[in-house]
């Protein structure tokens, strides 16, 4: 048994490919926990960042700087009365949130946090992610219909129409990126070398970028950039976030498809929404931004730079610890704040400790990939919040117009041009 467990450590594939169920299970648990923490952190960060964009403070009461607010919210949601409308379709009403969570979490099986840090590497990686996340639409439709009420129904209709339309543009952009895995260009755009076979596997896509010495966002300039742009717009629409948050437009439809949901069931939708955001960001990072690869792999080469970049994870945590300590210093000295001050100090100490651990050579080499991947995903998360703070909401017909008349033709154009450029130029 022990051999079975340790044997994987020497292999350099994902547990899924190595056929090691134990480690696959460990990875699944880790990803699940990591995602939950990420969603909780996102909840806090979104409120804080949005608040600071809007000249206010955001949560400040529960814990130092409202750090415990998401936990308080979670407890509130769990102990809330779970209301099911009398006229609702019980079975479907019950299934919808379960389904939305399952689809939102299943996609993370193939997300590559590093060359070996994924549950498994599927031959159809991207296709799997797009396919399973498209099942989320079903859950939304089910939720809207089962509520048996006008607002959720319209919300669900809007939502599904929107997701189905944007999926097409999204798919075209993805195909353009996949084409790039096999076409490394000759002459004008010729960069690096590759195996020449295209692939849908998430890990292979990143490896192709490594071999070609170019993130796909910069490849066949500006084609990669345009494809990335299409995906970046479509993914916001796909996750129903501002400025495409019509299904949940609270000024029009109160809360869209989950109007009738409350308590725990509602929190499942919330969880799914945020993990879906992380999932599509992960696709974008994998396809265009070099996945787990560190920045500037071409220019800043050599051992020194490798060392510098490998220090990043630890330094980031130490920086967070410093921020926490500064916050501790600036806490009011009144005895009323003693617990909060201690809590923040302790939090800072934990962060600092993690930072120090991450600086140790054996750890920092393994953690680097995960760090860069998460860092890039986090940048997308910030963008999501930024959009929400800046943009008004599209109207439904305008949204459809953008999807079908702008993004779709652009996507087709990029796809064709990528093929032409890859083969001829």
């Amino acid at each position: 048994m022990l051999d079975y467990i340790t044997s994987y450590l020497k292999s350099n594939t994902t547990p899924g490919q190595a056929g090691n169920q134990f480690w696959a299970f460990v990875y699944i648990i880790l990803i699940f926990l990591g995602l939950s923490v990420a969603v909780i952190a996102m909840n806090w960060l979104e409120r804080k960042i949005l608040a600071h964009m809007q000249v206010r403070l955001g949560p400040m009461r529960v814990g130092p700087h409202g750090l415990l607010q998401p936990i308080a919210d979670a407890i509130k949601l769990l102990i809330k009365e779970d209301i099911m409308p009398a006229e609702a379709d019980k079975v479907v009403f019950w299934t919808a949130p379960v389904m939305v969570v399952i689809t939102a979490f299943t996609v993370f099986i193939v997300v590559p946090f590093g060359p070996t840090h994924a549950v498994t590497d599927m031959n159809i990686g991207v296709l799997f992610m797009l396919g399973v996340s498209s099942l989320g639409v079903l859950a939304i439709v089910m939720a809207g219909w089962a509520s048996n009420s006008h607002y959720p129904l319209i919300g669900a209709l809007r939502s599904s129409a929107q997701m189905v339309s944007y999926e097409i543009a999204m798919g075209l952009a993805v195909v353009a990126a996949i084409l790039m895995t096999s076409l490394h260009g000759i002459g004008l755009y010729g960069v690096g070398s590759g195996t020449g076979t295209g692939t849908l596997s998430m890990i292979e896509i990143v490896k192709a970028q490594q071999e070609q010495h170019a993130w796909f966002i910069f490849k066949f300039f500006p084609l990669g950039l345009i494809a990335f742009f299409i995906f970046a717009v479509a993914m916001v629409a796909e996750t129903n976030r501002a400025p495409f948050d019509l299904p949940e437009a609270e000024s029009e439809l109160t809360a869209g498809f989950h109007t009738e949901y409350s308590g725990f069931r509602w929190s499942l939708f919330f969880l799914a929404e945020y993990s879906a955001m992380i999932a599509v960001s992960a696709i974008a990072v994998t396809l265009w931004l070099g996945g787990w690869l560190r920045p500037f792999p071409n220019w800043l080469t050599g051992e020194t730079w490798d060392l510098v970049f490998s220090l990043f994870p630890g330094v980031t945590f130490l920086l967070l610890a410093v921020i926490a300590f500064v916050g501790t210093m600036r806490m009011p000295k009144h005895p009323y704040f003693r617990v909060q001050t201690l809590g923040l100090g302790g939090f800072g100490a934990v962060l600092g400790l993690i930072g120090l651990v991450l600086l140790m050579p054996p750890v920092r080499d393994r953690i680097q990939d995960i760090y860069w991947f998460s860092f890039k995903v986090a940048a997308f998360m910030y963008l999501y919040i930024w959009y929400r703070g800046t943009f008004p909401r599209y109207r439904f017909d305008q949204l459809m117009k953008v999807g079908w008349k702008v993004l779709l033709p652009m996507g087709i154009g990029v796809l064709i041009l990528t093929a032409v450029v890859g083969v001829l130029l």
Binding site: S251, F391, P392, R393
Partner: protein, 385 residues
């Protein structure tokens, strides 16, 4: 208020099998009275074909407090604070209109200094009202950030009100015959400081919205209404001016000290939501201009005219209107010679402007209803009174 077909249709009267989309029959939706975008307790019954609006019917009265009836049982001075509760975001304007109407009835003229104070406070209030409108309107269209910016800046105005008369919202700043309070120490500095503070803030709002593609797409061509329709429906204020009609009571029938100042009336062309937005933004700048002139030119002197202790206007009737932030606010007061008015009728701009909702949204989409309600800038306290 509509063509009758909507006003008689209620949800219950529809046949059971008509309640779906696919039969391309109408769907009746109640927007409000508890709806985040109806700015209070307005209930709009929407008749929809899919997302297209076939007709609307406004159900109002949820906030009815019988303000006009109360007036008949109060003396003229006692009724003064009640008017603040109509358009509570522009309470100063309400008070000004009422005081001036009674003054006209009494044939009393407020002293010049009082008039200047009145203009400064009213224009500050116009700014506050427009800021609140901008924040909530943008929020309705989905831009959540401007709301906080405008509230931050509106706070400065409310601080000045608080320092002047002790109240922030329902100020009761003026009395019949002038003002009760002399300006406080440093009032002028405060106002001047505010002017310097707020001018770049208005640019900031515009930066966020005016050229924002989504904002333009959401507002251009939405809720169009022609100047002719506006006049036919009695619509006034920025909504009327955005449709290209050059009408502002401040210029047309100057009251208080408005004839002393140099300012322009911003006028739109298309009469759509975007133009109304631009008109209001320009109006905010013009208000700043008026306040600046008023603060500079404010004369010394008494602030209260000679008004008898017991106000007993002669028998007669009077209509006096002012330009409130939302449009023409008129008071029609009938006096029977006693200490209490025989009848007070308020012509609230919000109520009259709300009539235009149906004309503006017919044939447009549900999302536009929200935008149009926002752009009409209604306050339900004033609609229902």
């Amino acid at each position: 208020m509509t063509d009758g077909s909507t006003s008689t249709t209620s949800h219950l009267e529809l046949e059971e099998h008509d309640k779906t989309f696919l039969d391309s029959n109408e769907l009746i939706i109640n927007m409000g009275p508890q709806h985040p975008a109806t700015h209070g307790v307005l209930r709009v019954i929407l008749k929809l074909d899919g997302e297209k609006v076939l007709g609307t019917e406004c159900v109002i009265g949820y906030l009815h407090r019988g303000v006009e009836k109360i007036a008949e049982n109060r003396t003229y001075a006692m009724f003064n604070p009640y008017v603040d509760r109509m358009d509570y975001v522009a309470a100063v304007s309400n008070g000004l209109g009422y005081c001036e109407a009674v003054e006209k009835l009494l044939d009393v003229k407020a002293p010049p200094r009082a008039n200047y104070i009145r203009v400064i406070l009213t224009e500050l209030n116009r700014l506050a009202s427009h800021m609140l409108w901008l924040g909530t309107h943008a929020l309705d269209i989905g831009a959540i950030t401007p709301l906080f910016y405008t509230f931050r800046d509106r706070e400065e105005i409310l601080k000045i009100f608080e320092k002047y008369c002790g109240a922030r919202l329902t100020t009761h700043a003026f009395r019949i015959g002038g003002c009760l309070y002399e300006t406080y120490e440093g009032f002028e500095q405060d106002v001047k400081k505010f002017l310097v503070f707020v001018a770049p803030k208005i640019d900031e709002y515009e930066e966020l919205l005016t050229t924002n593609r989504i904002w333009v797409e959401r507002t251009k061509g939405v809720g169009k209404i022609s100047g002719k329709d506006c006049i036919a429906l009695g619509v006034t204020g920025p909504v009327l001016r955005a449709s290209g009609v050059h009408w502002d009571v401040r210029k047309a029938q100057p009251y208080a000290a408005y004839s002393d100042f140099d300012f322009e009336i911003p006028v739109g062309q298309n009469g759509d939501t975007y133009d109304r937005y631009l008109v209001r933004m320009a109006e905010m700048r013009q208000s700043l201009r008026i306040i600046r002139q008023a603060v500079e030119k404010i004369p010394e002197g008494p602030i209260m005219a000679k008004v008898p202790k017991v106000i007993k206007p002669p028998v007669g009737e009077i209509y006096h209107s002012i330009e409130a932030p939302k449009g023409e606010l008129g008071y029609f007061i009938v006096s029977d010679g006693s200490t209490q008015p025989y009848r007070v009728r308020v012509r609230p701009p919000s109520f009259v402007n709300l009539q235009a909702l149906d004309v503006m949204v017919r044939g447009q989409l549900v999302a536009d209803v929200i935008a149009v309600i926002g752009t009409l800038d209604i306050v339900l306290g004033e609609v229902d009174r």
